[in-house]
């Protein structure tokens, strides 16, 4: 038999909880009854300021209209208030005398406007003075608009988020608006005094008068409001007063019914009311671990936990509190407030930038190397990065200015709202903002899901951040967690460390064994990443299933747009000989290679070679593979060095050749492009390589890691300065092995190094704090020893038809068609 679920409160929390329950199949488990104080379906309260401002009409803010309740078999008592809960009889009593019994009860009564006890604010027997309004409900908003239309001057009491929104909205209806705020600066809960002052200037530029430190002591006017009086005696003339002095949890019903109430209804990690078995509270009315929340994101999290728990999807689901981070447009000004607003401890580190003339303020608070707070006013371009750093405790850039600014980074980001629909977001695959939004509206609400459908972000990957922001914006804050985001590959639900542990525990030595044991379904898109990982982990013991390889790795050449391949012979350190050049020229002529091109890695590329010709070309070249096709160690670019260059201070060519000889073809999570340059003039571009070595005067060598000069441009971080080429070779191997073991699939070093943090890398690789340096060196040495030139497969193909063409038509085996 179905259980009876009663939800008291039809606001954003109550309705969202019901939606989450239905999404988990709870419709079959519960008969659902919802009580709502307001005589409507469920609307987005956050949008009331848009209704007031006239940029949205009422219909646009409804989340679920009345028919939605009927369609889902929910009994909705709209406009009926619950007066009492009888916890012993498990019955709720409505104010019209009707009752409903429950097995499970959810209280989601939200909060109400806090109205300070100011003389004159109420009229005996009539509620509020007729010109005084709270700003909480749709009815409040309607009444305010209706009244303000015929009046001229408004005072808004309260300079927090809601008050600012009300002031901005009222400008749409009256000619003069004054904001009176009791504290010393605007939004004092979220902002420090300096940020508040800058916000104030911006708000004043919009034509709103602002009074801070203003205690309202009286509402003046007998029949109609004529003004407000402040504690210092000042009188501000006005004919409309809006009170937006904060909210308080609406817990009267719970308190009257005997539940534990402090600032809100006290709940545990399952949102269960203190000491109760079947009564829960969710949303702004709930107090969890001492916190009440007035933002929408924590409320969504609570609704999910409660739905998991109630439907039995995960009976032990636990809400552990939310880290408060918010980004809004407050009265037309962009504001983001994350975590703490200012330093709280003596050793907290604060980074501040203020530019009052432009209304820009940015600050970050750092504790023990992690971001614990950030504030942005007027320029919120860095908000995505800061929120991530805050949420995940990422390592922070050494140059703290990079927290607040993009220094030599990608160009200015436009906010998704301001972007025209036809803006091309993914320049590799030609995906527009409009396409992304349409995909979200079609029901796909994870970033990864949208990327899969549209292929946006699947090219060079630089637009991934923008794609994520558009998806989040289009989903209106309802973007769903993408559990797959942390997995090593999409087909096996585990992050890399867990996956590696499971592979070791079960002794999984082939890709098919991994799927069979850990993944369930075989997944084409996961095979290549798994093959790379298993090869790295098992070396000679790896069971090489050729179908797990991408075509490039099956035929040891890079597939081109027409289905032909490119051939790049090894040319260590970019140093060649006349004999080698002659040979390459002869091969190119003999096989009519359509294009011969110098590569960026100082080698020679023969382009347009058909697959079936590859073994012949390799044989005629008689040179080893340059690995210009794999997720592996590619090349070491060098400059002329000390033998010939009059500036060179170190023998870069000899060292480059030595590095390439040792680490040739070693596979990893991404390409590894290296360089050695003979002096800081950096002709070999070593600062922008995955690993770059720079000779400095005095016979020493600097090693930089995590550089890039592709779709993403980044100067590498200095890992170490060493005295000998041998140390360079050793540290190079150690860094590459650490990257192989800890890098996510396709995560290049320019992302990997900042993720781990250069300080941490120095600890592990140079100082050997974890005591794993010897293991890393040994693992790399084993991989080096197992290396075999793949072009030797020309002698005997590994699989039938390994080099048989898949294009073009004419050279395929002709199958006779019976007529």
């Amino acid at each position: 038999m179905r259980q009876r679920l009663v939800v008291v409160g039809n606001g954003m929390a109550g309705a969202r909880t019901v939606e989450e329950i239905l999404a988990r199949g709870g419709g079959g488990r519960f008969t659902i009854t919802v009580y709502g104080d307001e005589p409507y379906g469920n609307y987005n309260r956050i949008m009331l300021s848009n209704v007031l401002a006239g940029v949205e009409d009422e219909a646009g803010i409804f989340l679920n209209d009345l028919s939605w309740y009927a369609d889902n078999g929910i009994t909705l008592h709209a406009g009926r208030r619950v007066a009492r809960i009888d916890r012993d009889a498990k019955v709720v009593h409505a104010d019209d005398g009707t009752t409903t019994g429950y097995d499970k009860l959810v209280i989601a009564t939200g909060s109400r406007a806090f109205v300070p006890p100011i003389p004159g604010i109420h009229r005996p027997g009539r509620g509020y003075h007729q010109g005084v309004f709270a700003f909480r409900t749709l009815d409040d908003t309607r009444a305010m608009i209706r009244y303000a239309r015929d009046h001229e001057r408004a005072v808004v009491i309260g300079g927090g988020l809601l008050g600012l929104e009300a002031a901005r909205g009222l400008q749409n209806h009256v000619s003069h608006v004054t904001l009176v705020h009791a504290a010393g600066h605007l939004m004092n809960t979220q902002l420090d005094p300096q940020a508040g002052a800058i916000l104030r200037t911006s708000v004043e530029k919009l034509g709103i008068d602002v009074v801070c430190d203003g205690q309202t002591t009286e509402i003046l006017g007998k029949h109609a409001v004529t003004g407000v009086r402040l504690a210092d005696g000042r009188v501000i003339d006005c004919d409309v007063v809006v009170v937006a002095a904060g909210i308080r949890a609406n817990a009267d019903l719970a308190q009257a019914s005997g539940l534990t109430v402090e600032r809100g209804i006290v709940v545990d990690d399952q949102m269960r009311c203190s000491g109760e078995r079947d009564v829960y509270a969710v949303g702004e009315c709930a107090q969890h671990r001492g916190e009440t929340y007035g933002l929408v994101a924590p409320l969504w999290e609570q609704a999910k936990v409660l739905a998991d728990h109630l439907t039995g999807r995960d009976p032990d689901a636990a809400y552990r509190g939310s880290r408060v981070a918010t980004k809004l447009k407050v009265a037309g000004v962009d504001v983001a407030a994350i975590g703490v607003k200012e330093a709280e401890r003596d050793d907290d580190e604060t980074v501040v930038f203020a530019e009052p003339r432009r209304g820009v303020y940015k600050s970050a608070v750092i504790r023990d190397g992690r971001l614990v707070g950030a504030t942005l006013v007027g320029d919120v371009r860095k908000v995505a990065f800061l929120m991530q750093a805050f949420d995940r405790g990422l390592a922070l850039p050494e140059d703290r200015a990079e927290l607040l600014f993009d220094l030599g980074g990608p160009p200015v980001e436009v906010s998704p709202a301001d972007m025209p629909d036809d803006t091309q977001v993914c320049n590799c695959n030609g995906v527009s903002k409009g396409t992304l939004v349409a995909t979200v509206q079609g029901g796909c609400k994870t970033v990864g899901g949208v990327m899969d459908r549209t292929r946006a972000g699947k090219g060079c990957g630089t637009c991934k951040g923008t794609v994520a922001r558009i998806v989040e914006w289009a989903a209106g804050g309802e973007v769903e967690e993408d559990p797959a985001a942390s997995w090593y590959v999409p087909g096996v639900p585990m992050p890399k460390p867990e996956l590696m542990a499971a592979i070791r525990t079960h002794g999984l030595k082939s890709v098919s064994a991994v799927f069979a044991t850990l993944g369930g379904e075989e997944d084409a898109r996961s095979k290549m990443g798994l093959a790379s990982l298993l090869k790295m982990m098992w070396g000679d013991e790896y069971v090489d299933e050729r179908d797990a390889r991408f075509i490039n790795d099956r035929v040891h050449a890079n597939i081109q747009r027409d289905g032909t391949f490119s051939v790049v012979p090894q040319m260590k350190g970019g140093v060649t000989t006349p004999a080698q050049l002659k040979r390459i020229a002869e091969v190119a002529e003999k096989h009519r290679v359509p294009m011969v091109k110098l590569t960026g890695g100082q080698r020679i590329d023969l382009l347009g070679v058909p697959k079936e010709t590859l073994p012949l070309v390799w044989a005629d070249l008689g040179m080893p593979s340059g690995h210009a096709y794999a997720k592996s160690f590619r090349t070491v670019k060098t400059c002329v060095g000390s033998d010939f260059c009059r500036f060179g201070v170190g023998d870069s060519t000899a060292l480059g050749i030595a590095i390439e000889e040792r680490y040739q073809g070693i596979e990893g999570p991404g390409k590894m492009k290296l360089a050695v340059t003979g002096c800081p003039r950096n002709c070999a571009e070593a600062y922008v390589k995955d690993l770059g070595v720079v000779a400095i005067d005095g016979g020493r060598w600097e090693i930089y890691v995590g550089g890039a000069a592709g779709a993403h441009v980044r100067k590498g971080d200095l890992l170490a300065t060493v005295d000998t080429p041998d140390e360079v070779v050793t540290l190079t191997g150690r860094f590459l092995q650490y990257y192989r073991e800890n890098g996510n699939w396709l995560e290049r070093t320019y992302a990997f190094v900042p993720r781990i943090g250069i300080a941490r890398l120095r600890e592990v690789l140079v100082e050997d704090r974890d005591g794993i340096a010897a293991d890393l060196d040994a693992a790399m040495a084993a991989s080096v020893a197992a290396y075999r030139d793949p072009w030797l497969e020309r002698r005997e193909p590994v699989t039938p038809g390994q080099f048989r063409t898949a294009l073009p038509l004419t050279v395929l085996p002709q199958v006779p068609v019976p007529s």
Binding site: R453, E521, A524, R525, M528, I551, R554, I559, V815
Partner: protein, 99 residues
Amino acid sequence: MIRLGNLEDIPVGEGRAYAVGDEMVAVFRLRDGTVRAVSAVCPHRGGPLADGQIDNRVVVCPLHLNAFDLRTGCSTSEQPPLTVYAVHVDADHQILLGE
């Protein structure tokens, strides 16, 4: 019914292309033992699908990673569909195309 060749010509989990009259057919030998046949040219930019990676459901084009359901030919990345051919293997391990 058209005989394409031996099943053993196609390594497990891979595909090979065959020219049948004027048509290009990519035949895949799935790891679950099934054999599937679809048109061999990716409708997006002409990529060689027989060089693509597969699982028991889809083939992924090697050029731009568009994916196609091997059973229905439908793209899972918003591309036009592939032609699907009936194919089976007889008792002598011969791959036969057609009903």
